[in-house]
Amino acid sequence: MFDAIQRVIEQIQGTIFETAIEPVLFRLGLMDWSEDAFDGVEFALYGAIAVALAYLLFRPLELWHPAERWDDRRAVRTDVVYTLIHRIGVVPAILFLVLAPIGVMIDSYLRFQGYIPRDIEKLVTPLFDHPFATFLVYMVVLDFAEYWRHRLQHRLPWWWALHSLHHDQRQMTLWSDDRNHILDDVLAMVWTGTIAMLIDVPPGEYPLVLIGFRLIESLAHTNVRFGFGGLGSTLLVGPRYHRVHHSIEHAQPPFDRTRGCNFAVILPIWDVVFGTWRPSAEFPQTGVAALTGQAVRCGYLAHQLEGFRRLGAVLVHFLDRRRPGFVAALPAE
């Protein structure tokens, strides 16, 4: 069945590309980009499917048994914009156009120095005959790297100034996963790109499985009174687990902001191993205590500008400690 679904998606991708994208590239003299654009159509298609599935599967959960009820859901609209422009590929395409040439430059330089990246199946040779197992190993390694990126997002004041945009949402829903500052996205891409230069990227054979991972991330942000239980919360990140990470209350001892808790993106095992696992029976409110009002409840562009303002405040604070800076960026006592 999966093959049949994938086949249908491939045909839609090919038709969109041939009828709408390639003729435009040809007219504009951009045929060098045809294969990247073809991959871009695939990214957008799978992204659209992931968004549609997240809505169809998780919106009923939010209506049925929400963790929080709000009369006014206007703040959610900004997250819908974030989701659409990220998962349909607008922001990733811009980042790709800006960062890919830099990545090529670095990679090319390293090749001239004789460095060739080694993929995991070359390091662990029994994996070679099991591409799906290899794919899963990559997912685990990347999830591990995401855990540590997330730790740094909370630990470093300047990074927290950016990441606080993801956390300042007090109406966390299935749409909130992509609520990130563009510079934070740049850092994420550099992070992943660096890993790719060390161990390459996952095998490309399982795009449908990647949708499954995106759904887990959407479910983690879903406004539903649901968790995977005591044992389950060591196996997979769920709505309650991630809500605790997003809660105003979690910035309390021993889990202050700089230490934090429940950082894992997909596998909670990293939190267990590194002492940041915090099981809870509660469904706390989300947000950043110091941030309210228009700085939080604004449209996409205003929210992005707010991110630059917060980053600027932190940088000014570095230069002159008497300046208050971005209050939430200050390490907790």
Partner: protein, 285 residues
């Protein structure tokens, strides 16, 4: 044939017109060629930085050779050199053909794509897709002899028996006939939008050109380069191969994940065979 986005190799039956098997082969397989003695297939794996050598008779993998990002590959006609172009990393690698030891590594701005050789094997010509030009490199010294503009997004390139080069101008609707001595354009021959790659029939009389944007294949007389016919091949026609009896043209369709089999006598589409994502290199035997 190779499914470049799926990291797989498909074995397709030329009798039943169906995919027999599909196996994971590594990262980013794009092109494959036969070894000089014809006994081995060499698959260029741009993603996993290696060449995969497959015994042509048994289909069994015999060796993997480390090579940095090989995309297009080829042996010089004199059998001395093996050249790999890295379209992603803007680089051309020249190896000793017998040992696969790297001899020269040259930066090539930008997007070195397809390669062809001078008939005496002394020079390699590489299309530079990103800068719309063609570069000639002396294989022994690794020196750039000349670089000339040819047209937007040049892709496929072959050497005719006369030594003249033909270059597919993918950003336009024609192929260029190029003088190998200095890169000057002798003639332009209109084929179709997105002229991409070439195939010469075994008797050397017929030339096929895929037109990727037009979704067609132009048939040319190889002697006078006159277009004698046009075949329909939708879905981003890319690489081609002829069936051993010369009656069928097999074409990979990059955009529709299938191989098209065209009956040359009638020009009819005989079969469309679903394979993996972004099928690219093809080898029929």
């Amino acid at each position: 044939m190779l499914n470049s986005d799926d990291d797989t190799l498909s074995v397709v039956s030329s009798d039943g017109y169906h995919e027999v098997s599909r196996v994971h082969i590594g990262r980013g397989p794009h092109h494959l060629i036969a070894s000089l003695d014809g006994r081995t297939l060499i698959v260029a794996m741009s993603g996993s930085n290696e060449l995969v050598l497959i015994d042509r008779t048994t289909g069994v993998e015999s060796q993997r050779v480390e090579a940095s990002d090989p995309y297009q590959i080829g042996f010089s006609p004199d059998g001395k050199w093996f050249v790999a172009a890295s379209i992603r990393l803007d680089r051309i690698d020249i190896y000793d053909a017998k040992t696969f030891q790297l001899v020269h590594r040259l930066p090539a701005a930008t997007m070195p794509s397809h390669i062809a050789f001078a008939r005496d094997g002394s020079i390699v010509f590489v299309t530079l897709q990103g800068t719309g030009s063609l570069i000639a490199i002396d294989l022994a010294t690794g020196k750039d002899l000349w670089t000339v503009p040819v047209g937007p997004s040049p892709a496929g390139i072959i050497t005719l028996p006369s030594g003249t080069l033909l270059v597919g101008i993918m950003g336009s609707d024609h192929i260029d006939a190029v003088d190998p001595r200095d890169g000057s354009i002798i003639r332009k021959i209109q084929t179709g939008n997105g002229a991409h790659n070439f195939l010469v029939s075994p008797d050397g009389k017929t030339l096929y050109v895929t037109n990727r944007v037009a979704g067609t294949i132009s048939v040319l007389d190889a002697d006078n380069l006159q277009v004698t016919g046009t075949l329909t091949a939708p879905g981003g026609p890319d690489d081609m191969a002829l069936s051993p009896d010369g009656r069928e043209l097999w074409v990979t369709g990059r955009w529709h994940a299938a191989i098209d089999v065209i009956e040359l006598a009638s020009g009819a589409l005989k079969a469309t065979i679903p394979v993996g994502r972004s099928p690219h290199g093809i080898f029929v035997y």
